[in-house]
Amino acid sequence: MSSLILHQLYAGVAPWLALSLLLLGRNPFPSRPRMLGALLLAFFVLWIPVVGWPLFAWCRVLEINPSFTLTGLLCVALWQRLSSKSVFRSEDWTAAWVVGASATLILYPMGLGLTSIDPCTWGWGATLPISTAVVASGLLIAGNRFGMILLLPLLGSLFHLQESANFWDALMDPLYGATSLGVVSYLLWRRLR
């Protein structure tokens, strides 16, 4: 399989998962037909042509490298909705948002030119994968399940599943970053109240 097709297939997973979740709605116990319908509808919606290109290709214009972390979290969220079982506990989700918000604050302001230091360059070397292994180990030792999700960027990066060769793109993306910042801000605001 060519790398282009592999990258396209991977880049389609996160939009499909997100759209499936959206189509499942808020009902905590969806029926089986509804589950199957949501998954299939999400798949076909992504193939609807818009100005000559499927919707999925338009997603790739904006987000060509959904992070493995985001894809993993969407998988967990979808599995929880489909099985009606809690895979992640509250502290697992909190860890996901705290790690995402911390990485966002490190990566994006400086990456977009705030200082002469560019954290983006760390992603081409071995520093970032090792740092990720350290954080994942810490979380796993503490019994936090988000540690398992942090193995996905390492795995995906090893198999070159993304168009990008930068490990930051395996670990982070703007959608995961923005969601993490929003949730952490809300959690802090709630605690301060």
């Binding site: 282009l4 396209q8 100005v51 000559g52 290109w53 290709a57 338009w58 790739r60 214009v61 904006l62 987000e63 060509i64 490298n65 990566l107 994006y108 400086m110 990456g111 977009l112 030119g113 705030l114 200082t115 002469s116 230091i117 560019d118 983006c120 360059t121 081409w124 070397g125 071995a126 994968p129 090792i130 990720t132 292994a133 994942a136 180990s137 796993l140 030792i141 019994g143 399940r145 540690g147 398992m148 942090l150 193995l151 390492l154 795995l155 990066s157 090893l158 168009e163 990008s164 060769a165 930068n166 490990f167 930051w168 793109d169 982070m172 703007p174």
Partner: protein, 391 residues
């Protein structure tokens, strides 16, 4: 989570991190620069200056941003983009070649939006700046900008390769260089080859900030390995023109995005790893492209718009103290209401200096001159009462 499972996962994490450590040595973000003056014959002889049009009669409403490369033998190649307007969907990338001394071939399209879209597997709004590199193995490497949405702030960098002197081009590939939706990395100025066999390409970002960066490249059995480093952050100067002084020392000239309206300059003494904070020179800059080159005698040459306000002229200036002070050498173009922009200086295979630039928005002009012509023009300036314009 059971304890054995935890330790198994931790073991897996470290195994994968170890594998990534071994297979991701990273591209060195500094290097020894090769010197163009060493690679070419001296470019001396009798004074010579000639001006030609690379694309006579092309007839496009807009052509812009030319770059040059010396191919194997005496062949020179030029690429630029053209269409109905900047960022328009009909913009294509054109290629022309010339055997040294003869005219330029009829421009032909090497990339259009449809081919790039098919190669990348996603819609592209428009094509933009292109930069051509000639590898020592005879292959050509093209870097070009595509716009995903909006204008230049929504652009990305791509690459393609030719094994037959520019006749056919490989499938275009996207480079991922920016963390935020890969916005917005652009290429414009001449790349510098490295003694290690790689390239250092000046690039820049103009999304939230506008700042200069360097792209470090290495061709590895047909695969392009790359990484980048930053010259400066912020939102004040960008579009670097990289000029090596020797193998380890280099400087970059920077386009100004502030109200100072001056060309900025930054220096490195360690192969491009660490750069000084950009400082302004005496040379004006109307937020326009510039290009620099080191001459055989050690002096620095710069092509620039000699005005803080507009691009209605194009001039050359010289520095014999590594950029500390400048003297205007000559105005190559000067016509009120016209535009002369985006100069691209390079050394051709016979040692002469080529300056390509956009002339009146519709032509790619090429001024070819040698070091002796510069020396003579410089000497005649010194004879004039009052000397020069920029001290």
């Amino acid at each position: 989570m059971a304890l054995p499972l935890r330790w198994l996962l931790i073991g897996m994490a470290w195994l994968m991190a170890g594998a990534l450590y071994l297979c991701r040595p990273g591209i060195p973000r500094s290097g020894d620069f090769t010197m163009a003056v060493n690679a070419a014959s001296p470019g001396l002889g009798s004074p010579n200056f000639q001006k030609t049009i690379v694309n006579p009669g092309q007839g496009l409403p807009m052509v812009h941003v030319a770059s040059l490369a010396t191919m194997s033998g005496d062949m020179e190649a030029a690429v630029w983009y053209g269409g109905s307007a900047e960022c328009a969907p009909d913009v294509k990338i054109y290629f022309s070649e010339s055997e040294h001394g003869s005219g330029w071939s009829t421009p032909r399209v090497i990339l259009d939006r449809q081919k790039v879209e098919a190669d990348l597997g996603r819609p592209v709004q428009a094509l933009g700046n292109a930069l051509l590199l000639a590898n020592p193995d005879g292959t050509l490497r093209l870097f070009f900008v595509t716009i995903a949405m909006g204008r230049w702030s929504g652009s990305q960098l791509n690459t393609s390769r030719s094994h037959d002197g520019g006749l056919t081009w490989s499938r275009a590939e996207r480079l991922t260089l920016s963390p935020f939706f890969n916005f917005s990395e652009l290429v414009r100025n001449r790349a510098v080859s490295l003694l290690s066999g790689g390239w250092c390409v000046p690039i820049y970002q103009e999304f939230l900030g506008k700042f200069p960066e360097l792209l470090w490249l290495k061709e590895n059995q047909g695969n392009l390995e790359y990484g980048k480093s930053r010259i400066a952050g912020g939102c004040s100067s960008f579009q670097p023109s990289l000029v090596p002084i020797d193998a380890r020392r280099a400087l970059v000239f920077l386009r100004d995005y502030t109200d100072n309206r001056k060309i900025f300059l930054s220096r490195s003494d360690d192969g491009g790893r660490i750069w000084t904070k950009p400082t302004q020179t005496q040379l004006p800059n109307p937020d326009s492209g510039i290009s620099g080159l080191k001459l055989n005698n050690g002096k620095l040459l710069i092509a620039y718009n000699d005005s803080p306000l507009c691009r209605d002229n194009l001039a050359l200036a010289l520095s014999d103290d590594q950029g500390a002070s400048w003297e205007k050498l000559v105005a190559l173009e000067n016509e009120s209401g016209s535009t002369f922009a985006y100069p691209f200086l390079s050394r051709s295979s016979d040692g002469s200096i080529d300056l390509a630039y956009t002339r009146k928005g519709k032509e790619i002009a090429l001024a070819r001159f040698n070091d002796t012509w510069i020396e003579e023009t410089w000497a005649s300036l010194e004879k004039l009462p009052g000397g020069s314009n920029h001290q």
